[in-house]
Symmetry: C2
Subunit: 368 residues, 2 copies
C-alpha cells in the first residue's frame, strides 16, 4: 500500500489537504538568475551544462535554495531524448534548437535507434541521483520529459517551427507513419521516465508544449493518445514506496479537460488563458490543477503580484489539489526579486484563505 | 427596414438559409499567388501596395477571379490605423512591422493625433470605392480592422512581440492608461469602419489576433470591451439599405463564446483549435460561425483536403449560419492548386449534405 506523502507539493499533487499552497515555477532554474549564468559560462554552453551532472545538479538546486521552493525540477532539456534516439542536437547562437537530419520518410524513421536510458541518458540519471543526495528528504524532485507529439514536432521539422508544415503534412498525408513515430517516442519516454523514477524523482511532468497547435480531433489522436501510452507504461510507485504523481502540462489548449483527465494523470498543468475557477469546477476533484499565473505578472509591481496571486488562489478556492505555478516558464529578463514577492504572497495569502475557511481545506465530492 | 441579402456569404452571416456553404479565405490575396507577386514588385513594397488604390484593387480581385470566392476582402493592413494616428510604420526585410516611437507613458499617448478617415486613410476608402466599382453586385466586399487590443500590442511594443512584456506591464501596472489608449483606438476604428461602410463594404471583420495571449479576465476587460465599444458605435446599415454584418475573428481563444456573442456581433470567426460542432451547439443560432479548417490541411493531398472539408461541414451540421474559412490566414508557401480543390470540395460537399437533409437548412431554435 502506498505511503501517504508528507511534502505539501506531493500532497497537493494527490489532492490531499495541505497547510499552505505549494509553489514552484516552470524554468525556475535559468538565465534570469545570475548564479545560473555563472555556472552556464563555466559549462561552455547549454547542452554541456545539461550533460554535466555536477553543474546540472548545482543549477537545479539554485532556485530551491534562493526561494525555498516547494519542489525542485531536474535541470535538463526535452531534446536529449531525440538525441539519445540517434539525432544530432545543437543550439545555434540566439536561435532555436536544431535536430539533424530531420525525419520525414519511413527510411528516416529506421535510422532511429533503441534507447537504454542507463546508457545514452546515463548523465541525466546520474544528475537525478546527485540532486536527491543533495536534497535528501527536504524538497521533492520533479523529473520530466516532452510529450511524444511535442518531441516529434522538433524531429520532423528539424527544429523549432512556426507553421509545423512538415509534421502536419505527415499527420494528414501519412498518419500511420506519424503514429509509428509517436509510438516509438512514447516507449522511449516511458522507459526514460521509469529510469528517472528508479533513480529517485518523486513526481514526473510531461510537457505537451505543442499540442495546442492541433485541432481537437488531432489533439486527441496524436497528442493525448501517445501520452496515454506513456502513462499506461509508467511505474507509478517509487523505490521509497510512495506513489509518483504524473503532471501533464498543456500549453494553449485548456478546452479538453475531460479527455486530459481520461489519461489517468494526477495533475493537469494549465497555461494562464484558462480560468482556474471554471477548470476546477469542471475537473471537480478528479485531478489536481497546477498553475496558472500569467508569467508577465512578474513584470509588474510587488503589490500587483500579490493581488494577482490572491485572485488566483481565490479562483481555485479552499479545496485540496492546487499546485501554484506560472502558466508558462520564467523569461530571462525577469527580476529574481519579484519571484521572492511571488513566493511570499502565495504562502501568506494561501494561509490567510485557509484561516478564513476554518483552517481546513474542504473536501469536494468527485464528480461521477 | 433592412433588405434581405441575396449573396450567400451575406445570407450566411445573417444565419439565413443558403444553397451551398459560402467560402472565402483569410489572406486569400497574398504571396502564394504569382499574380500577386508581380503586382507587389510593381508597387515596390508591401506598404506602397496598400497605399496605391489601383494596385490594391487589383490584388483584392485576383483571388475572387481565380477561385470564384464568395467574398472579396479589402487588401490592406491593420497597422495603417496606428500610422494614421501619427506613428511611423515600416516593414523590415523579412522581419515584422516596426511602429515608432513606441507608446509607454501618458506623454507618449498625447502624441497621438485624431483621425479623419477621409484624410489620413483616404487611400483605403478610395480602394474600397474602386473595388466596389469593379465587383458591382457580383461579389460582396468585406472591410476590416484590427481590434484595439491587437493594435495596441504593436503600438506599445513598437512592433511584433513574443512575450508582450511592455503592454502586459502597462496592463498590470497602469490599467487606466491602457484603457485610455484602447478607448482612443476604438473610437478611431469605429470611425474608420463606418467610413469603409459608407464607401461600400458590405461586411466588416475585426481581427483580434492577439487577444489569445491574455488571461480570461484580461481578455474580457481589455480586448472584448474595447471591441464592444466599436460595435456600439457602428453604423450597421450600408448606403444600399442592407444590414452590414460584423464578424469578430479570434485567434487562440475559443473558450469564451458567451462573452463573444454578448458583444452583439453577427459572426464569430474561430481558429482551428475549437471543435466546430461544440461551438455551434453552444452558440445555437445566436451568431453565425466562420471557419475553421487548419490551414496546414492545404499542405496535404486533394483527397485529404476533401475529407477534412466534409468533416468540418458535418461538424457544423445542416443549419444556416456557416461561412467556410480557414482558422488562420494562407501562408506564402501554399499551392494555389490546393485552394481550387478546397473551394470545389466546399461547394460539392455542402450541396450533397444539403440534399441528404432534404435540400433545406434546418432552422435551429435560438437558445434563451
Amino acid at each position: 500500500m502506498p505511503i501517504e506523502p508528507t511534502h505539501r507539493f506531493l500532497r497537493a499533487c494527490h489532492s490531499l489537504p495541505v497547510d499552505q499552497t505549494p509553489v514552484w515555477l516552470m524554468r525556475q532554474a535559468g538565465r534570469y538568475l545570475p548564479e545560473y549564468m555563472r555556472v552556464r559560462q563555466q559549462a561552455g554552453n547549454f547542452l554541456s551544462l545539461c550533460k554535466n551532472p555536477d553543474l546540472a545538479t548545482e543549477v537545479t538546486l539554485q532556485p530551491v535554495y534562493r526561494f525555498d521552493m516547494d519542489a525542485a525540477i531536474l535541470f535538463s532539456d526535452i531534446l536529449v531524448v531525440p538525441e539519445a534516439m540517434g539525432m544530432s542536437l545543437s543550439f545555434g547562437m540566439g536561435e532555436g534548437p536544431v535536430l539533424e537530419p530531420f525525419l520525414r520518410t519511413p527510411s528516416d524513421l529506421r535510422r532511429l535507434r533503441p534507447v537504454q536510458p542507463e546508457e545514452q541518458l546515463g548523465y541525466v540519471l546520474q544528475t537525478v541521483t546527485q540532486i536527491r543526495q543533495a536534497l535528501q528528504e527536504k524538497t521533492p524532485l520533479i523529473g520530466f520529459s516532452g510529450s511524444p507529439w511535442t518531441l516529434a514536432t522538433y524531429m520532423v521539422e528539424g527544429g523549432s517551427s512556426k507553421t509545423f508544415r512538415y509534421i502536419k503534412g505527415m499527420l494528414f498525408d501519412q498518419p500511420a507513419l506519424l503514429q509509428q513515430l509517436l509510438d516509438q517516442i512514447a516507449d522511449v519516454v516511458a522507459d526514460y521516465l521509469n529510469a528517472q523514477i528508479a533513480h529517485g524523482v518523486q513526481a514526473v511532468q510531461i510537457f505537451d508544449t505543442w499540442g495546442g497547435v492541433l485541432g481537437p480531433r488531432e489533439f486527441v489522436t496524436f497528442s493525448l493518445r501517445s501520452i496515454q501510452r506513456i502513462i499506461d507504461r509508467l511505474q507509478r510507485v517509487g523505490p521509497d514506496g510512495q506513489t509518483v504523481p504524473i503532471i501533464l502540462f498543456f500549453f494553449f489548449f485548456g478546452s479538453m479537460l475531460e479527455e486530459m483527465i481520461g489519461t489517468g494523470c494526477d495533475v493537469i498543468g494549465l497555461d494562464w488563458t484558462t480560468h482556474l475557477a471554471t477548470a476546477r469546477h469542471q475537473v471537480a476533484a478528479r485531478a489536481a490543477l497546477q498553475g496558472n499565473l500569467d508569467p508577465a505578472v512578474l513584470y509588474a509591481t510587488p503589490d500587483i503580484v500579490r493581488h494577482q496571486v490572491r485572485q488566483l488562489l481565490q479562483d481555485y478556492g479552499p479545496y485540496p489539489g492546487h499546485v501554484f505555478n506560472l502558466g508558462h516558464g520564467m523569461a530571462q529578463d525577469m527580476d529574481p526579486g519579484r519571484v521572492v514577492d511571488l513566493v511570499r504572497a502565495v504562502r501568506e495569502e494561501s494561509r490567510l484563505l485557509l484561516q478564513q475557511n476554518g483552517g481546513m481545506q474542504r473536501i469536494q465530492e468527485k464528480r461521477p
